[in-house]
Amino acid sequence: MKILNSWLNDFGAFGNDAEKLAAAMTGLGLAVESVSIVGTPVKGVVVAKVLRTERHPDAEKVHRVYVDAGDGKELHIWCGAFNMKPGDLIPLATLGTTMPDGRMITPRGILGIESHGMLCSGTELGLTTDSDGILILPNDLKLGSDLFSSLGIKSDCVFDLDVTRNRPDCNGYLGVARDLGARLGVKIANPSGDKTKKGPVRSMKVTIADKNRCARYNMTVMSGVVVGESPNWIARRLTNCGMRPINNVVDASNLVMLELNQPTHAFDAEKVNNGFKIRCARPDETLLTLDGQVRQLEATDLLICDGKDAAIGLAGVMGGASTEISKQTTAVALETAWFEASGVAQTATRLGLKSEASMRFERGVDPHGIDHAVSRFASLLRESCPNLVVHSGGADVKEKTLAPKQKIVNLRVSQLTRILGAKLSPKAISVMLAKIGFVTKSTSSSKSATLKIAVPSWRPDCETEIDLIEEIARHYGYENLGKIVPQSTMHGRLSTVQQRRRDIREVVLSMGLSEAMPNPFLAPGDLVKAGLLEDNAIRLANPLVYEESVLRTSLRPGLLKAMSFNLSHRATNILLFELGHVYPAGSEKSADGLPDEYESLCLVAVGETSALALDWWSQLSSVMGFGAQLDQASVESGYHPKRSAMLRRGKQVLGCVGEIDPRVLAHNQINTSVACLELNLSVLLAETPRVVAAKPVSRFPRSDFDLAFLVPNSQTAGAVLKVLRQAGGSELVDLELFDVYRGAGLPEDSRSVTFRLCLQASDRTLTDAEVTAIRQKCLDAAAKLGAQLRN
């Protein structure tokens, strides 16, 4: 909503201190998006008359315009706009004029012919926002006179307000003025209505079929209309508020809308057949709207029909072409109505016809402001139609659904204090509310009083106690409510899960990986390219683009893209990780109806093998205390089948470690191996780390020895390690695989695997016999797996 300082002053003596006004509006919640100056006079621009125009054979884009600037002399001007004809008055920037954009007007011409000035458009002079050629001036201006003083234009300030949804009244000057007046102590007055006596009866029958959608419908016929241009001041106001002047009837309607937040629609009274009927559309009904388009209607669209039931307008959205005002119109039927908000919104949204009018109906207009709006329209139209007759006998249908002029909302003074912290007396509250038209119906000085507040009909948003509390807070001033830091009764800290998540990040960062944040939306096919199935992926119902229409079920596709991107930029040491959510579809029966979303961690390194991935796992598991077995029997799809392992604890899968499947790499333009570790953090972080009870350190000597086995390739080293641990029992306090050897001197289907064992008891020195016995048990266990002790 654009608010002109000068126009605002029509409602009250607000003055011209733009900074003060902007601050007051901001303080009231009328956010000032921008403050700009319009209509600053440009010295040297005079009113001139077009004498004749002429083409030059060598100039295609410009023509020669000869004008008289008041002294009877013919001046020659080159001009690139062609919208003038002899006799038109136009603005001439004379030689030496400095234009608002800083250009100086000089005689510089083209083809060796000088130009004695420049003809100006409204935009060039800062008068209008459209730039459709040269500004054609009203005929009554004095030739040669200073343009700005003859138009009576003074510089003006425009406040561009971002009006929030809860303030429908502030989509009109009146609402803004009322709020500002209350804050600044300025008395406000409504703009004057039409004072001329009503003319003879011209009735128009109105029937409302759908009473929930239209609670009030006023139809007033006005004759003696001459359709033409609006008076200057009206056109200028509309222009400065970002609306295009059209003709005096439409402009008067728009001006009333800006002032009073009440849209109106003028039908050509002669073209309307037998009155009006307001009803919802029938299936298959169509309407040719003002913009020349045939609209397919639906049962939710509210229509204005004529007495013969033919649609002539879309209520609150757009008029029909058949009853449009034209140059020949002499009488208008003015519709001033209250249409239900959500219905208008639905139609306007469906047809893509959001307009200034539909926006206002959607937010809510004042059903009791209608009479004044009609009267104001007449007074404005009368300025250009002196013979205007406002006929009596129109229609003003009020349905039972019409909101009352005032509705009562209870306000507990104690509740106000409980929410705002400020202690206000009932008296102070009623004085404050009275300034914005809220009337206190019951008086009491008690702090425990419940006040009955009558809310005016222009504030449909104010329905409950908390709405009133907000009004009081706004007018009391947020800045006056104080600042107190609450004493939190909680202990501020990270939860165990959050602390452990940060610890994981630290470990991963210390291993040299940088954090990526790939798009969680994938293109169809991305999962397949990563070797994953797509059948548990969820699609977006309304994606921005097709390439981002699938929700990820794994972090790998995003990281594959990131690796491939960095490779294409010849990056080295590509080590990346992501910690984020993935969203595989769950069983539809899950209690909350949501997918099986979980938190995942994925680490990747280009040009590295599973050895690095295992090192990552080893570091993470030792720092975080994660435990898992490697299971190479079957691996997650998308991983190298022979160089990867699932991380399992029993049946539970904790993640996967190894290398990416070479086929996946090829699909992603990666021509080297990629190490990868993926963990389900939702499972791992949910585990509470065990608190370890201290065991006394053994004071008895330890016995260390190595065992080197010849292990067939079909058997994993991990399996041998596992049986050794079991065989060693509680005296085997340390067991580690420390060497693997393949090659000369060994059979091709086997390798040598060496373990270092450490035996120790906590309560005695182990005897040689005991050590020998344990060693033998280990050898026997290994032998069962085909591992033979080497000599």
Partner: protein, 333 residues
């Protein structure tokens, strides 16, 4: 005889001095300690001396010579040892600059860094951190937040819906506010919580917007919480996070889930106001949705974007750059 002793000693001392290395010195030492060494041979000749006085003086002289020689041997020996270790040290010389391996630490994403800094400030103010899923129900994202099905404000959220469950029932959360509902239901007051996380809007990416971005939300619910506590918390956060030269203000605004609602701005030392986020007193309907009696408890909520914090702190020109995953970008921070 005394002259002969002196001469033998001098000769021994000279030999010690002239020893070429530790091995030579050891051989010399063995030579000198032999029974028939020149000096030792004098001992057997002692008996031939006539007077007691003479015996004593010669004896003392011999002892002194022996001590002197032993000390010289010792000194010379440790000289050789010192030289040897010094030579070894010299031979072990290393150029450490050759050996310095550039070990690269990884880089945390600037959005993560900003999130953690914000979390830490609020932890200091007595808040805990709550989390929730990114895929949400329409109920938690809208309905419970005082935006029933037909509410016009819903259209401002540019929601991305999923093809999952009933059409329109499951969506990508458009703000972190649904976590408020989850917290109210599971924690019970008093609640002093912040809720950082990823949110989604159907916005075409440009220099300042991404369809996937991050927000942090705060929620306080306790007995006796007023608007002044909201303003105080915002002020306290502003000074703790941005610096004590910053100040804050609230100006009226509108959100369906809070009332009274406000935008909050912060003011830099140079006087410029910067819009930061939205806040307000939790709407009674929202408290009811969360199972909390609005007549017993009151509270406030606030929220703002995290990405912008990171963008402005590091002077990133285009927010899209933060999500290219280009290592040349990531490694700067």
């Amino acid at each position: 005889m005394s002259e002969a002793i002196q001469a033998a000693k001098d000769s021994a001392m000279l030999a010690i001095k002239n020893a070429a290395d530790l091995a030579g010195l050891r051989a010399l030492s063995a030579e000198l300690n032999k029974k028939d060494s020149p000096l030792n041979s004098f001992k057997s000749e002692m008996g031939k001396l006539a007077s007691v006085d003479e015996k004593r003086s010669i004896g003392q002289m011999l002892n002194a010579a022996a001590t002197e020689i032993a000390t010289a041997l010792e000194t010379r020996s440790s000289e050789f040892a010192d030289n040897e270790i010094a030579a070894r040290i010299e031979s072990e010389s290393l150029d450490l600059t050759e050996l310095l391996v550039q070990r690269r630490r990884g880089h945390s994403h600037i959005v993560t860094q900003a999130t953690q800094r914000l979390e830490d400030v609020f932890i200091g103010l007595g808040f805990q951190i709550a989390e929730g899923p990114e895929v949400e129900t329409d109920f938690n994202n809208f309905e419970a937040l005082n935006m029933p099905k037909s509410h016009p404000a819903r259209s401002e959220f540019d929601t991305m819906f999923l093809e999952y469950g009933e059409p329109g029932s499951v969506l990508l959360r458009t703000h972190t506010s649904p976590v408020q509902i989850r917290v109210m239901k599971s924690w019970k007051p008093p609640i002093y919580a912040i809720m950082p996380g990823r949110v989604f809007r159907r916005d075409t990416p440009d220099a300042t917007h991404m369809p996937v971005f991050h927000q942090i939300e705060g929620l306080v619910i306790d007995r006796g919480i007023t608007f002044a506590h909201l303003a105080g918390t915002i002020e306290s956060f502003t000074k703790a996070f941005f610096g004590s030269e910053f100040t804050s203000r609230l100006r009226p605004s509108f959100f369906p889930f809070t009332e009274p609602s406000a935008e909050f701005d912060i003011r830099r030392a140079d006087g410029e106001w910067i819009e930061l986020g939205g806040c307000g007193m939790v709407h009674p309907n929202v408290l009811i949705s969360g199972g909390i009696d609005p007549e017993e408890f009151s509270g406030f909520a606030f929220g703002f974007g995290i990405d912008r914090m990171a963008k402005e702190r590091h002077k990133v020109e285009d927010i899209r750059e933060m999500y290219t995953n280009d290592l040349r970008f990531l490694r700067q921070f």
